[in-house]
């Protein structure tokens, strides 16, 4: 009796939990919680990345308002499937990761918050290898309090 009950409860719990599991999309909690750029890189599996001129970060040299810093990243590396954005001196350096498939071009433009003047690093994945580019952006007023 007890075993039957436990099985039924288990089955019911499984059925109840499953839709929630399906709803929760993948979010790399460990990498986003990392507090150093090194840990963030490790979190996305990119401990070692080769510098590449084919990965281009287009952003202002000086951002007056750290709350909205426009950054444009494009990769000319053949077979790029992913681009991550790491703001080295932010409290949590990993800002975003974009996975491209089914014909999406390895390109993204977004606005980020920057706490202070910092190197911004883009990491691209192509054919299982990692490539990186870095650009320093100077910030006059930090934007992480908003």
């Amino acid at each position: 009796m007890n075993i039957l009950r436990r099985t039924l409860v288990g089955a019911a719990a499984f059925l109840l939990l499953k839709p929630f599991a399906a709803l929760a999309a993948a979010w790399n909690k460990d990498a986003f919680a990392a507090k150093t750029p090194q840990d963030a890189l490790k979190g996305i599996g990119a401990g070692e990345a080769a510098a590449s001129k084919d990965l281009v970060i287009d952003a202002p040299q000086i951002a007056e308002n750290g709350a909205v810093v426009p950054i444009e990243i494009s990769s000319a590396i053949a077979g790029t499937t992913s681009i991550a954005v790491i703001i080295e001196k932010n409290p949590f350096p990993l800002a975003a990761q974009f996975d491209f498939e089914n014909g999406a071009l390895p390109y993204v433009k977004l606005n980020v918050k920057m706490n202070e003047t910092s190197d911004v690093r883009a990491v691209a994945t192509a054919g299982g290898r990692r490539y990186a580019a870095t650009k320093e952006i100077k910030v006059t007023i930090g934007g992480c309090g908003g």
């Binding site: 709803l23 089914n102 606005n111």
Partner: protein, 102 residues
């Protein structure tokens, strides 16, 4: 609070780079950080679909600016293609918008 979205999808490019579909999307969202005095509330996942097929899957953090604006590009494409962008935040709130390529 999280509010409406706006999106524009157009054909761009040409020349040596080839043509592409340019998708610009705006999400109304507070994107509050752990540093502010408000509860942490930010978008975590964004999915872009072209005619029902996922083309970009993004994971983002609180470091993305309030009322996020993104530009994505999809190779080729044609007028009338259906582009859908959806997001999911850390509180389980979600929203989406669909438009046809002009």
């Amino acid at each position: 609070m999280a509010g409406p979205m706006k999106m524009r999808a157009t054909l761009g490019g040409g020349g040596t780079a080839g043509s592409y579909t340019d998708v610009r999307v705006l999400m109304t969202h507070p994107m509050t950080t752990a540093q502010s005095n408000q509860p942490l509330h930010f978008i975590q996942n964004i999915t872009v679909r072209q005619n029902g097929k996922a083309v970009v899957e993004a994971q983002i953090s609180q470091a993305v600016s309030r009322n996020p604006v993104f530009t994505f590009r999809i190779k080729g494409g044609a007028k009338g293609d259906k582009i859908e962008v959806s997001w999911l935040d850390n509180k389980g709130e979600t929203n989406k918008i669909e438009t046809a390529v002009a």
